[in-house]
Structure formats: C-alpha cells, structure tokens
Amino acid sequence: MAAGFKTVEPLEYYRKFLKESCRPDGRELTQFRTTTINIGSITTADGSALAKLGNCTVICGIKAEFAAPLADTPSKGYIVPNVELTPLCSSRFRPGPPGEEAQMASQFIADVIDNSQMILKEDLCISSGKLVWVLYCDFICLDYDGNLLDTCVCALVAALRNVRLPAVKINEDTGLAEVNLKTTSPLKILKHPIATSFAVFDDTFLLVDPTGEEESLATGLLTIVMDEDERLCSIRKPGGSALSPEKLQECISRAITRHKEVQSLVNEVLESVKSEK
C-alpha cells in the first residue's frame, strides 16, 4: 500500500514523513547517510580515494603529469578536475560529451580548489618557467543517488592526501628531467574543505544530504563548503526557494559540525592505511 502511495503521490508521501520530522529512510532531517571512505583504491594512480554517502559512490583518481607552465604564471602548476557522470551511474545520463550537470560539478570542484587555497600552486613547480606538475583529478560516479557534490569533495580531499609525488631533478647537461621513483613526498595540503548539501522542501523544511529522490522533489538546493577555520570557501545556491539569512545561518552551523565529522573520518582512514603498511 505504502509503495503504491509513494509511486502515485511522491510529494504527499514525503510530506507525511516530514510532518513528523523524519524521512522515509529513517533519518532525521539533519542526519547524513553513512559516509564511507576508502583511500588508495587505485594502485596505478598517484593518489586515489573512493567516497560513499549512502548509495552515492564516487571514485577519484589523481594522476600527476609534467607540463610547461603558462607564460604569465611561470612558477605555478595546475590542477584539472573532471567529473564524469556515465550512464553506468544513473539512467538520467546518456553516453557522449559531458552533460550540464557534469560540467557544473567540474567547475564547482575547480572553484573549491581555487577558493580554499588547499594547495599552493607554487608547490607544484619543479623548475620555474620550464616544468611544473599538473594534477589531473578524475572523478567517476559509480552510483548516482543525490548529493554528488559532497561525495566528490570528500573523495577529492581524501585522494589529495593520498598523493605522493616522486622527486624530480633537472639534469644540468641534457636539460632533461630525471624522476626518482624511490623517494616520494606527499603534497602539502593547507586546508581541508568539506561540502555540506541541503535540500529545501516546500520552502520550509531543510533536509541535509538529500538522496536522488529527495533532490528531484525538492524546491531548492544549497551547498556550503567550509574549511577547518570555519571559513566559507564556496556557497552554491542556484535559485529555488528563497531562504532567509537566519535559515542560511542554521545551514552554516550544520556545515561546521559536518566538517569535524568528515575530517576525523579521513584522518582515521589515513591512519589505518599507514598502519597496514
């Protein structure tokens, strides 16, 4: 009976739950789904991580390559994020060039990296004006179930902490780069931005970590990216229900607690990866 009601009147079905301040999957309104992070899942990449929020799964692989720096920024490397939403993860996506949502996610991740200053681009310089590192961060969504941005940012932070770059020396005589794969060093990560997404339901209810279904029924979406100093690195609220400043403040407070949760989870996983070795 309930299943039938849900198919016919999904919105009414949700409203019945929200009236009692809970959700059909048993969560409270401010509760995240179970977050799982696996670090170092791809051995051929320079750094990788798999992040899962409930069913939503994103794998991130980071590959470092040499490149010539841009003429106006000779001592800066660059980071190129790319999000792929393949037909594998949801029937909403079609094969072919990246769709609007994938482009938006890629741009969002690039903005988060720039705004948060998590990595100094100068640290990626090998030889000024000649050679720099490019970090290609590829995200592949394996299962799309809402809240893609949070999952991607989680995967990004975890994967970047897993990156180990080999030592590179430029040979004076030949001018060629010599890579020493035996001595590797981790990246210097200054900030750990974490995203927290909300869905607005009927202009009143704020739901944390919406599932795919909740996202499609919601009247508005909001993503807040916060770093450990409680500074906002990015807010994305593309239209939808209008929010009062007080409601926004509520969301920011939730984002602060969420940051602590994820930060400790990432640290825990990194510790366990280290102790295994």
Partner: protein, 239 residues
C-alpha cells in the same frame, strides 16, 4: 489529459546598463542609471550607443512561450533556456556554469506551470564588462522577463559584494576592485519577502561577512526594485 499548449507569444528585449550602487549609504545617492526598455526599436539603439561609457552592459531578449523540440519538452512546465553570449569568442565552461545559475534563478521566478510543453528562451549578450557582470546579467534577465509580460512569482535582482583584505565591504565593484579583492559574493534577492534566492561566490570569507553582505544586498535590492518600478512607469507613461 495534458494541459493545452499556449499559442500566444511574448517577446521582450532589454538593454541593461548596470546602475551604480557605490553611493549606497551616502547622501545624495550617486545613482546614474541608464535604462532603456524596448530597444528593438532602432531609435533606442541609437540612444544606447551614445550612453555607453564603459560601464557594464548586457542586452537581454526573452522569447516564448514557443514551440519546443520533443526531446526537451517537459510535460508539466515550461523549459527555460538561457543563452549567455560573451563579447568575443564562443561560450566556454565559465559561461556555461553562469548560464546554469541564471537559468535556475529565472526558473524559480517564472511560473513555468502556466506554460507546459513550451520553451522560454532568454538570450543575454554581453556588451561590455566593467565588473559585476553576473549581477548585471541577472538584472537584465529579470527586466526582460518583466518587459515580456511573463507571469512571475516575484522580481529578482543581482547584487555583487566584494570583501577586501581588511574585511571592508564594497557593493557593485569595478572589475579592478573585483580582481584585487579577497572574496566576491553574487547574491540574488527576491522582491516579495526580500529573501536570498541565489548565492555564488569566489574566495574565502567568514559566516559573519556573509551575513553582512546579505544585509547590504537587501538594502541595495530595494533601490534596484524602485528603479525597476520607475523605469516601467516611465515606459508605460510614454507613447
């Protein structure tokens, strides 16, 4: 039964020159608006040329509700498309993400359910960029929608705030101020309850700074809405 398609077609066209908000708080307010409605008339186009002084300006056109490809058709509401054309070259990923932001803002204002299975297209042509471009695009889009006579839930306007290294807040920055700033916030405010519709940002800032920016933007929004009203009045009192 599917709702009937509407056959009538509205079209609106707006040339929006970003009004300056730099004088907010100061008396007398330094507002030098140049605002021309219905610039598809060649007479107006001539006027615009003489008014161009290097400030940000965007030309906006609204077409719809019109016929739509079956693949893009939505059975319960209108499909809203925003096309943002840069001054030179082809639209890049940056424009694409701005288009998305403008589209979603317009979508929440337009009563799409009134025009099922039809398209509403908003074309924004950047004419000159002297800072606060995205806010300018939002303003142009809203006034164009207004001019087209499409039923809207509320009006909206875009306000850009910049924060410099001392935490000093400036509204409606020039492109130089924008480049030198620590953080840029683009806020869209709606006219009915004065709440925040859209937020986009660059750079890092604290929650208090965000709240200050919102408060400033809400004050500025009142000026812009008054300006909308005055312009509409001027337009309809003539001819």
């Amino acid at each position: 039964m599917l709702p009937q398609k509407q056959t009538c077609c509205w079209a609106g066209c707006i040339w929006w020159l970003q009004p300056t908000l730099r004088g907010i708080g100061a008396t007398p307010p330094l507002l030098h608006y140049v605002f021309l409605l219905a610039c598809h008339r060649p007479r107006c186009l001539l006027l615009i040329n003489s008014f161009l002084t290097g400030d940000t300006s965007v030309l906006a056109g609204v077409y719809g509700p019109a016929e739509i490809k079956v693949s893009k058709e939505l059975h319960d509401k209108a499909t809203i498309e925003v096309i943002l054309r840069p001054k030179v070259g082809l639209p890049a990923i940056q424009e694409k993400s701005q288009e998305l932001l403008i589209r979603e803002t317009c979508e929440s204002a337009i009563m799409g359910a009134l025009h099922p299975r039809s398209s509403i297209t908003i074309v924004l042509q950047i004419v000159s960029d002297a800072g606060s471009l995205l806010a300018c695009c939002l303003n142009a889009a809203c006034t164009a929608l207004m001019d087209a006579g499409l039923p809207l839930r509320y009006l909206f306007c875009g306000v850009t705030c910049v924060l410099d290294t001392d935490g000093h807040l400036t509204l409606d920055p020039s492109s130089k101020q924008q480049k030198e700033s620590r953080a840029v916030l683009i806020l869209a405010i709606e006219s009915v309850e004065n709440k925040v519709l859209t937020v986009a940002s660059r750079g890092a800032y604290s929650a208090t700074e965000l709240q200050q920016s919102i408060a400033a933007a809400q004050v500025a929004a009142q000026k812009i809405f008054k300006f909308y009203r005055d312009s509409a009045r001027r337009r309809y009192s003539k001819s």
